[in-house]
Symmetry: none
Subunit: 402 residues, 2 copies
């Protein structure tokens, strides 16, 4: 539904909505097997939610599209990922929990190796250790001076990866990558596509010249390549769009950053699953929407570790058994995308989902799994619509029209 | 499909399309129960249509949105309810079968009680009897004089509710509600957002001043509050959009009015179900599309009367057994929205639907119910697309492209 129409329908009440997100939840049978990771897992709590609620298969973007973490989560939060595009530089900044402001342009930096003629010979500088990365970032931080009133920040991600942020008035992010993508060529000069971006590109050129000088005696990391320049444009918040005071209970920086993007409160990192539960209980009365993020379903899928992914799903199912003690109005269980162990990567497969509520009108699904979900009332739909159904089931929407 | 493309495909023939609309058809199990009202009802005729035709679940607006009667019916008639927005005043005028023209601005009026300082003390004037409402409307009708060439009409709805219509050249409906929504405050002055609306608002101010004087000695209904000002903009008709000469067989004013909105012929009110059948037969040769509306599935749902709703569904099923005698090309059985007895109100739940036709390619559904419909070929879709499927099954659409 169109935002301006939906806004008119929002009711505020104290009915709570819990989104339990198992990153990369959807899977695939392995060769010779017949069941996915989720279908293999023993999940009595999810099965009960599936039996009592409604199920379906969600497309985070649209059928056939494999989403990154950004689009996958935006869709869960109710933001059309084809409309709200988050630049890679901004995602990288979120990934190191850098707090962006609307004056910021961010880019990914890779430490690289260039030869005496300035030609790139290793685009990742032999994947230098993170500790060396930190040391080089500190050196750059100390020595680079930019003209004008523009500040810069350089933050280590890991190995050869870092993030550059420029902060100032009137900056623009439409700047080409300097990474030539192949070895044997020189880095590309950064240029801006519009006046604000060209002003920014000039600062980047100055930054790069100084870095080349500062790192000239380092080895192997004697220069940097920049990619994914992006201006940070704050998104409308979930409270503005849906009337939901929202909080993220998540351990990993990227997801904590994505939650901040849509205005969620992000309390300190919970170190354990038990700490996540304690955090949920502690903040339960103060918020309406709870985004609870579990990472390991994705990382085990990326490792191709089918059995481990099964086990992780079972652990999270056990964790989720307590959720109903809190008496929420709505519990959603789903993922931001699929990560089949078979593919060892994110994939385009639609993501199984449960929406549990006393008003969900139970369907014929009795266990939580991809095949079963295909028979459910949620049917197959784009993930971004799910938030509207969650609002409806929490009785947080008025009637549309008389 | 886009209107301008669809229009090119329209064929006119004598194949009839019947839409049997059970208002608020969709339901929900009661606590402790497992079946909805429809799943509980014994419906041999609907079951036969479901077995031979195709079934699905329809979202009148979009998933999670609870539609009013206006959006719900527009969607059935093939009009996107997010595009064709009908103002509340216009709906109220339809509800008293007032015949609007394109010169009209309509608003809801509530008789109210104000104290000596003009402060609202009862927004509904103690829900005065309809008879008193009629008497007061007549008094206002006789005594109020508006400047210029603008006519006004005031029509009793029921209890404290009435409708005001202003008719003249160059009027506008972007006027705020005068209802302060709470007692203890004075009514709000009506103001227009644009010149046409401000011209209209000035007339409304004059109207309200005179009404205040006319009703000053009445008790408890000594003033009126106005809400939902809306200009009436005629919609393209179903004949223009789909090549369908259409007729409404409906007992209740609101639905008769909604049918008029899209250019349907609306014969005199049929007093009984039998009279509806006679009307259908009498007009059968002259029209292409038959909108047949049954109200009681909604009103029993609104009353929370699960068993009564079941019985009403069974009565309509029996009525529908004769439809095939008429040899229609397409029979649709569905609702404009769900009204679960559990919620005692319209709801967001998708609406079960049958599309029967000799060319529908039967699916696996064998009985008419929400859970069964989830397995059908219609799948889950927005209601507004159904008319195109009905046209196709009536062989009223040419091939698109060569």
């Amino acid at each position: 539904m169109k935002d301006e129409l939906l806004r008119e329908l929002i009711i505020r009440n104290d009915h709570k909505i819990i989104y339990l997100i198992l990153d990369g939840l959807g899977g695939h049978p392995m060769p010779g097997g017949d069941k996915t990771e989720l279908e293999t897992a023993h999940t009595p709590n999810f099965d009960q939610l599936a039996r009592e609620g409604i199920c379906g298969l969600l497309d985070p973007v649209s059928p056939g599209i494999t989403p990154g973490s950004g689009p996958g989560h935006l869709a869960l939060f109710g933001y059309d990922p084809q409309e709200y595009i988050i630049g890679r530089g901004v995602l990288s900044a979120l990934g190191v929990e850098f707090h962006l402001t609307e004056k910021d342009v961010a880019a990914r930096l890779n430490f690289c190796t260039i030869d005496a003629n300035g030609v790139v010979v290793d685009r990742r500088a032999g994947r230098i250790p993170t500790e060396l990365n930190k040391k080089l970032c500190e050196k750059i931080r100390q020595q680079v001076k930019l003209n004008g009133d523009v500040e810069f920040f350089i933050e280590t991600e890991s190995e050869h990866r870092a993030v550059l942020i420029l902060r100032g008035e009137g900056l623009g992010g439409n700047i080409n990558d300097t990474d030539p993508q192949v070895v044997g060529e020189k880095p590309i000069e950064p240029r801006g596509e519009d006046p604000a971006s060209e002003k920014t590109a000039a600062l980047v050129r100055s930054f790069l010249e100084q870095v080349r000088e500062i790192l000239k005696d380092e080895s192997p990391a004697n220069f940097v390549l920049a990619r994914g320049f992006a201006k940070y444009d704050p998104l409308p918040t979930m409270e503005e769009r849906f009337g939901l005071k929202s909080i993220a209970i998540a351990q990993y920086p990227m997801y904590r950053g994505l939650a901040r993007l849509v205005g969620m409160h992000v309390p300190p990192k919970p170190e354990t699953y038990e700490a996540m539960w304690e955090q949920l209980k502690a903040f339960y009365d103060q918020f309406d929407f709870f985004f609870i993020h579990f990472k390991k379903t994705d990382s085990t899928g990326e490792d191709g570790a089918f059995d481990k992914k099964v086990k992780v799903i079972e652990e999270i199912d056990a964790w989720a058994g307590r959720l109903r003690e809190l008496n929420p109005a709505v519990i959603v269980v789903t993922g931001d995308h699929s990560t089949p162990s078979l593919l060892k990567s994110h994939s385009w497969h639609p993501v199984p989902a449960i929406l549990w509520s006393p008003y969900a009108r139970p369907d014929a699904v009795t266990t939580f799994g991809e095949r079963e979900c295909a028979r459910g009332y949620l049917n197959r739909m784009e993930t971004r619509h799910l938030i509207v159904l969650a609002l409806a089931n929490a009785l947080r929407l008025k009637k549309f029209g008389a």
